[in-house]
Homo-oligomer: 203 residues x 4
Amino acid sequence: MGCGEADTKGDARRRRIVEVARSVFLEKGYGAASMSAIAAAVGGSKGTLYVYFRSKAELFEAVIRQFGEGGDLTADLSDSRRLEEVLTDLGGRMLAFVCQPETLALYRTVIGESGRFPELGEAFFKAGPQDKIARLAALIAHRMDAGELRRADPEIAAHQFFSLCRAVRHQHMLFGLALAPADADVVTEAKEAARVFLAAYAP
Amino acid sequence: MGCGEADTKGDARRRRIVEVARSVFLEKGYGAASMSAIAAAVGGSKGTLYVYFRSKAELFEAVIRQFGEGGDLTADLSDSRRLEEVLTDLGGRMLAFVCQPETLALYRTVIGESGRFPELGEAFFKAGPQDKIARLAALIAHRMDAGELRRADPEIAAHQFFSLCRAVRHQHMLFGLALAPADADVVTEAKEAARVFLAAYAP
Amino acid sequence: MGCGEADTKGDARRRRIVEVARSVFLEKGYGAASMSAIAAAVGGSKGTLYVYFRSKAELFEAVIRQFGEGGDLTADLSDSRRLEEVLTDLGGRMLAFVCQPETLALYRTVIGESGRFPELGEAFFKAGPQDKIARLAALIAHRMDAGELRRADPEIAAHQFFSLCRAVRHQHMLFGLALAPADADVVTEAKEAARVFLAAYAP
Amino acid sequence: MGCGEADTKGDARRRRIVEVARSVFLEKGYGAASMSAIAAAVGGSKGTLYVYFRSKAELFEAVIRQFGEGGDLTADLSDSRRLEEVLTDLGGRMLAFVCQPETLALYRTVIGESGRFPELGEAFFKAGPQDKIARLAALIAHRMDAGELRRADPEIAAHQFFSLCRAVRHQHMLFGLALAPADADVVTEAKEAARVFLAAYAP
DNA sequence: AATGAATGAGAGTTCATTCAT
DNA sequence: GATGAATGAACTCTCATTCAT
């Protein structure tokens, strides 16, 4: 009453639903996750889910949107370390994030449903990968300006760097062919990606 | 009976079922594809499907296994063109293949279900991508032997090259953010991948 | 508080609910009209409906009861016009009223639910048709006394006249086979009903 | 096997479903009759209903269509009795039929849903009342030709006669205000209708 | 008096699967 | 081998109703 912000009670409930739904969706996939199962996991009734979300698809979307915030991958423009170090660091963190079981499960689910839910793939991409790519691209552009990198389209370059990071391990994991990497493996792969990238973009 | 090889009639039926099921699975995804729909598309009865496959999952697996054969991506070791040309050609063909709507749909479906069907992801990977990577690795090894490329792990290099090819367009398509590329776009992207790759692996 | 008659504020609210509920019930029918929809149309919350009415059925009943007041069909005993004219006039007004979309919708709804809500059919009939029939019967009795009509049961005669008015057009409309009649059609049908009636009851 | 007509087994099941569904629909009305209840009454599973009918609405329609066949109301053109007798007989049979509880329940249900299922009202009317009216109109036309009735539109006349038959008792029953009539009451009302009708159409 | 979050039963419908023919 | 009718469980979603605030 008289407070500045909000409907905190309802919001808390809503947040809790999204959180629980996330774990169910990621474990079972969109199709196999039932609203009953989610309601049971939340500890409420099915009807309540529909008080907060108009449909299963809408709940799923909320899960996806909330997920984009994960993975703190700030690329600091003023970072003064040698570029190789910066890229290895950034690539390593990104790779460790996307190899986490939960992230991987989400990635799989979103890709699996993108054909039928086009807005969903878009929402996920914009909430997650796009942002990270944009920040890396800004860093790359910065270093191009500084003469440390050959001039080229920084966004394409950013895509390439991230793809190189995910070229082996993550690709295998996507298909269930590899387990989560140890920290050392992540660094090795990021380093290798940085090496290829820097050779190609040396000024 | 009395023939040398096979139960040809039953085999033909089986093949037809797999073929039809593929199109249904790819269009709707595993969860949303119903056995009824498949039976109707085959032109037979639902019961018949169960004569050939013990369950929906088994039929799905058969579909995946049969799929690996697509995409003629032979990398000819004796190809005498300059490596840049060979890579651009090969990368372009690979990219064009994986951007086809059907291939993309399969890719999505397999990735989407890999968490729940681990053997399936493996079966797909082995029947498809692995083979192509192995052939490219052989080519790369050959050129390393010839001194055209710096010595390194040829399999990792192969993964990197394919990842570079798929870095932008295919990545976007996976999430439904881009339409299928024109032929020229494919070539451009393959060329760019070859450029980065060759810079990194110059002897 | 402190006023002579009533809880006027609550009464106003109650009246408003009934009014809004009517339109919803008539549009959707009893079964398909949801309390949510009614609450939304009223602009209040679902809970409020239950403050004024113990159940959906009770609200429905209130709607029906309030409806009888429609249709100004006074039959003036002292009307000195020729009986044919009076009947045509009266029959025409009645027919026009019952062919109105809202009246028709109510009629359908009440009839549809009369099997399960017997008090409801009765309430409607008494609030609506019965009254009109009684007034017509009084008029007919008056004219019988005056020797203008053969002596007979005036109530049966009244029923017959109204049934004759509704014999064709309204009957078709009930089943969705005809649209609302133009004014001229109404007059024609009322005139025909008066003709048959007068021939049968000529003294 | 090798028989001339039909799929008798499936047809029998289908007929049984329609028959059972009819009793449930008439007892509860369309909205309140659930597919579960119908399945239970049939003694099968809900899924089976959907083998024979694509939806609840379609099953309902089948019920209505099958109902039209009821009520043997042949009007024999060569009937040589006096017209009054013929009409009393015919009107009485019609009235007895429409006052049967089951017929009345159907009538109510169809009218109640006609606003939302316009094709349904039409289907019912064409399968039932229309036919009876047409036959009576033919009889009336025949007697007009014979000079026994004043010349006029025979179809309107037929509507009027049936409406006169239903003017009192049936009208009350529709709203749950009267019980089913005894046989004698039916005859009385039919006779009265015939009297009014003949007075109006005397040559 | 008014709210609106919460409920749980039950709606119509679809499905993978079975089995007698 | 092929069928297709039958099943019953599970699905998403809606509803009338209640109750703490």
